[in-house]
């Protein structure tokens, strides 16, 4: 399989036009950390965007940063951290989960996958911080949308469309994001030994308080732990920690985690570290928080991590459980259909990913609309064909 490595945005346009003219399909790759997600590539050519690098604008006072799409996310995070800022959506790092190195992804990949982390419940996902884009559609044409200001309703918000489109509609070449001040400090309140239903009730109470909780997860760490994160200026974190501690007492004995331990814990939640380093089939399920425990119960013996106050479930199937050879797809789909939400098969062997629906099984109307959108932007189906759904 040949690799095309554009040096600039013009090369990208040429590459897509060349593919269009020559009847080729293209596998769109940023820095390649998430290639194992989605249906396996069916393209004869790879468009490798790792040569499109560099931050082209960063104005901390204006909360804005622009970069070429292949820029390493680690470079961007280090740059904004030096000004006391961050990408508030806390993009997770899929690297270790998929058997790769950490901190290796590109900003384009972060956006194309619409990444988020535990702070999703307070600050949103990549989509919510994606201000502007220049991209080449499957028509071989360069278009832009959005801008470099945080408040903008001029025309359709194509940034939203491209966020989470996994390179199937257009190849992003330049992107603009919102940056935000990083919290000065953080701490966490922990509860131990709750079952999932009690944990979700505790997390709902915490989220429904004025404590401004920025992370709410339930996972195994020497037994079940329910963790609630507070971030901000020191006097505020201290004050809220006391208030939250009192609020959580009726649910069980509480513990306080200081800043270092809290950071480590939430980094592990963000990157789903407990499930890294193995090959078990892994599902990522988004649902209404209170539906989480019921949904998870339908997943038999899957090992679970709950984030987003119970609304995000990571479910790893025990080895040997996958008797149908579908990585638990039938079971996961049925559970999600009953509870509401959507499920994505994040990790499974390529033949399984080729055989089962990896992304949300949409109902007929949404599926047809999805197809029409794809045809509008990539009528010949040359960009990541079949990566999200067969035939799209």
């Amino acid at each position: 399989m040949d690799i095309l490595k554009p040096r600039d945005a013009k090369d990208v346009e040429d590459a897509v036009q060349g593919a269009l003219g020559g009847g080729h399909t293209l596998d769109i790759v940023g820095r390649g950390t998430k290639r194992a997600i989605g249906r396996p590539s069916q393209s004869e050519l790879t468009l490798d965007l790792s040569g499109l690098t560099g931050v082209t604008l960063y104005e901390p006072d204006e909360l804005v940063l622009s970069a070429r799409a292949g820029t390493p996310i680690a470079e961007i995070e280090a740059l904004v951290a030096a000004s006391g800022q961050e990408l508030a959506f806390e993009p997770m790092d899929y690297g270790p989960l998929l058997g790769g190195p950490p901190d290796a992804g590109s900003i384009g990949g972060v956006l194309a996958a619409n990444l988020a982390g535990p702070r999703r419940i307070k600050s949103g996902a990549a989509r919510d911080h994606f201000l502007g884009v220049t991209a080449v559609s499957g028509r071989g044409e360069t278009f832009k949308s959005g801008g470099r200001v945080v408040k903008n309703v001029t025309g359709y918000d194509l940034c939203k469309l491209l966020a989470g489109s996994w390179g199937t509609l257009a190849v992003m070449t330049d992107v603009t994001l919102k940056t935000l001040p990083r919290a000065e400090t953080e701490g966490s309140v922990l509860l131990r030994g709750l079952d999932a239903a009690a944990a979700v009730r505790a997390m709902a109470a915490a989220m429904g308080s004025s404590c401004d909780v920025s992370g709410a997860a339930h996972m195994r760490r020497d037994g079940w732990v329910t963790a609630l994160r507070l971030e901000g200026v020191a006097p505020s974190v201290l004050h809220r920690q006391a208030a939250l501690d009192a609020l959580m007492r009726p649910f069980g004995k509480t513990e306080i985690l200081g800043v270092q331990d809290s950071r480590a814990l939430w980094r592990a939640v963000r990157d789903v570290t407990p499930f890294a380093g193995d090959a078990r089939p892994l599902w990522r399920i988004s649902t209404a928080p209170t539906a989480g425990p019921g949904l998870a119960a339908a997943l038999c013996d899957a090992e679970l991590i709950y984030d987003w106050a119970g609304g995000l479930i990571w479910a790893a199937l025990p080895p040997g459980q996958d008797t149908r050879g579908d990585a638990g797809a039938a079971m996961a789909r049925a559970a999600v259909a009953a509870a509401g939400g959507h499920a994505t098969l994040i990790r499974a062997p390529a033949p399984v990913r080729a055989a089962v629906a990896v992304f949300d099984a949409q109902d007929a109307g949404v599926a047809a609309l999805t197809r029409r959108v794809k045809e509008g932007f990539d009528p010949k189906g040359i960009l990541n064909p079949g990566r999200m759904w067969a035939g799209v």
């Binding site: 095309l4 490595k5 090369d11 040429d14 590459a15 060349g18 269009l20 003219g21 901390p60 006072d61 204006e62 804005v64 006391g84 800022q85 988020a116 989509r127 071989g140 044409e141 360069t142 278009f143 949308s145 801008g147 470099r148 200001v149 945080v150 408040k151 903008n152 309703v153 001029t154 025309g155 359709y156 918000d157 194509l158 939203k160 469309l161 989470g164 001040p181 709902a204 989220m207 429904g208 401004d212 200026v233 006097p235 505020s236 004050h239 208030a243 988004s286 987003w308 609304g311 939400g341 959507h342 992304f359 109902d363 109307g365 949404v366 609309l369 959108v373 509008g376 932007f377 010949k380």
Partner: protein, 500 residues
């Protein structure tokens, strides 16, 4: 753009000739008083918040159920009839302006809150519920819906979704798009879709993100799921006056640069301060060129701590007045002035025209200086209120529609301001939408190719272009034409690209 030059789609005479039959067919779908065809009764619908434009619709339909909306749209689609959706009609960009050959589909009867779910922190509401009613419905438990447009007592949640509306708190809490989790959408074909729900993010393409801010061109929203938040423990505001707008702008940058994102950060210029003070007596200082209201919300420990920092930053930025609210009444009084800015300006001028560009904040002094020059050139006064944190300007151009030529001058003035916003790196509209008002300025910001890509989305939702035509896009191309693929000859290989 002047009223004279605003071209709306050519009226479909064949449709108009069948008006009687169409009205009868619509009555069969929406019985009783849900179909209005008498001119006098249609008058209230002839314009929205952009009152300079008026047009009677062919007929007004006020459905009450999703099934009726679906049947009306299916009928219109089958018969090639245009449809303009409408919420409360407070759009400031003419988004809900009727068309003479179109059905005006009023969503005002969708008034029910369907579900309040505190455990998941969401409200499911029909689109005709007002923005404020969502907050009111959950206030007893101390919750609220964060996006708070100044029109919140009147505007509907459906209209908010269609316009992606903002408010003074959106710097910290986001616009509508950041607070909507799901909707039920009826396509022009009558097909009913569910996008999103009580869960976060889309499992496929973010179609909800596209529908939000689509100005009624993609589908009719018949239900909305929004996220609600617990009210902050406390809020305090500080008034800061400056001898120059440069200093005020620098202060805003310094506050954000210090890592503080206030709940609200609003600026007014001298003409706005004076108009407001005369009207509301909020106690604003009159000897300043620019006034900032900075509000901090959260636990009192945090608010007090940050207020001290804001105060010292303000003094370092040469503030001439720094006044912290000492009671809830005083905080509300600080805001009362800002919130009454539009009516206050309405008192000092027979008419005013509200603009809505966004600029990179650092360009503020330049933009204000240029606006003063324009004000002289057009012979019209201008007062500025400004969502300072996010660079969203609301220049209010003062004019008198009864003086011949003044409206045209006001519109030319407004156009020049918006062009300037784009030139300095900003955009045509921060929260009010494109509608008909800024439609013909879209090419200032977008190329033909940019606009064609946006229209391809329109084609995916509404191939015949029947929903709200004449809004947003300066020219509507046929979908068949947009669908063609142009393969550039000589591009069948990859001559110059490094290949491995």
């Amino acid at each position: 753009m002047s009223i004279m030059s605003l071209t709306l789609p050519v009226q479909d005479e064949a449709v108009l000739a069948r008006r009687g039959e169409i009205v009868a067919a619509l009555r069969a779908i929406v019985p009783g008083e849900g179909v209005i065809d008498a001119e006098r009764e249609m008058r209230p619908y002839e314009s929205d918040g952009l009152t300079a434009y008026r047009q009677l619709p062919m007929v007004v339909v006020l459905p009450q159920t999703t099934a009726q909306v679906s049947a009306v749209l299916r009928y219109c689609h089958a018969n090639g009839i245009r449809v303009v959706p409408r919420g409360a009609g407070t759009s400031l960009s003419g988004g809900a302006l009727p068309l003479g050959d179109a059905v005006l589909l009023g969503m005002g009867k969708f008034k029910r809150i369907r579900e309040i779910d505190f455990a998941n922190r969401v409200v499911v509401a029909e689109p005709g519920v007002t923005n404020l009613a969502v907050s009111t419905a959950v206030a007893h438990e101390g919750f609220y819906y964060a996006p708070d447009p100044s029109s919140q007592i009147a505007c509907t949640i459906g209209g908010n979704v269609a316009e992606n509306s903002g408010g003074v708190h959106c710097l910290k809490y986001g616009m509508t798009t950041n607070n909507v989790l799901g909707c039920e959408l009826v396509l022009i074909t009558g097909e009913i879709l569910r996008l999103g729900g009580k869960h976060l993010d889309a499992g496929g393409y973010d179609l909800l993100g596209i529908v939000t801010g689509s100005e009624g061109l993609l589908g009719v929203v018949t239900e909305v799921t929004v996220r609600i938040l617990k009210k902050p423990e406390t809020a305090r505001a500080v008034l800061v006056g400056f001898a120059s707008s440069e200093d005020a702008g620098a202060c805003v940058g310094a506050i954000i640069g210090a890592g503080i994102i206030p709940g609200g950060m609003e600026m007014m210029d001298r003409p706005a301060i004076h108009a407001v003070e005369e009207f509301v007596h909020a106690g604003y200082p009159l000897d300043v060129e620019a006034l900032l209201i900075v509000e901090l919300d959260g636990p009192s420990a945090e608010v007090d701590h940050l207020l001290e920092r804001v105060e010292s930053i303000a003094r370092a930025c040469r503030a001439s007045v720094v006044r912290v609210s000492t009671s809830e009444e005083e905080r509300l009084l600080f805001w009362a002035g800002r919130k009454a800015a539009f009516p206050a300006v309405g008192r000092i001028s027979p008419d005013y025209y509200c603009m809505d560009g966004t600029i990179p904040r650092a360009q503020l002094p330049l933009v204000l200086a240029r606006m003063r020059e324009m004000s002289e050139k057009y012979g019209l006064r201008v007062a500025n209120v400004f969502h300072a944190g996010d660079g969203n300007l609301h220049p209010l151009i003062l004019y008198d529609a009864n003086v011949p030529g003044e409206l045209d001058r006001a519109e030319a003035f407004g156009t020049e301001i918006l062009r300037l916003c784009v030139q300095v790196g900003g955009v045509l509209t921060g929260e009010h939408g494109v509608g008909v008002e800024k439609r013909d300025l879209m090419p200032d910001m977008f190329t033909e190719i940019d606009l064609a890509h946006q229209q391809r989305l329109k084609c995916a939702f509404d191939e015949k272009g029947l929903l709200n035509p004449g809004k947003v896009f300066p020219t509507l191309h046929r979908c068949a034409e947009l669908g063609r693929v142009h393969v550039h000859h000589g591009h069948t290989a990859f001559p110059d690209i490094p290949r491995f």
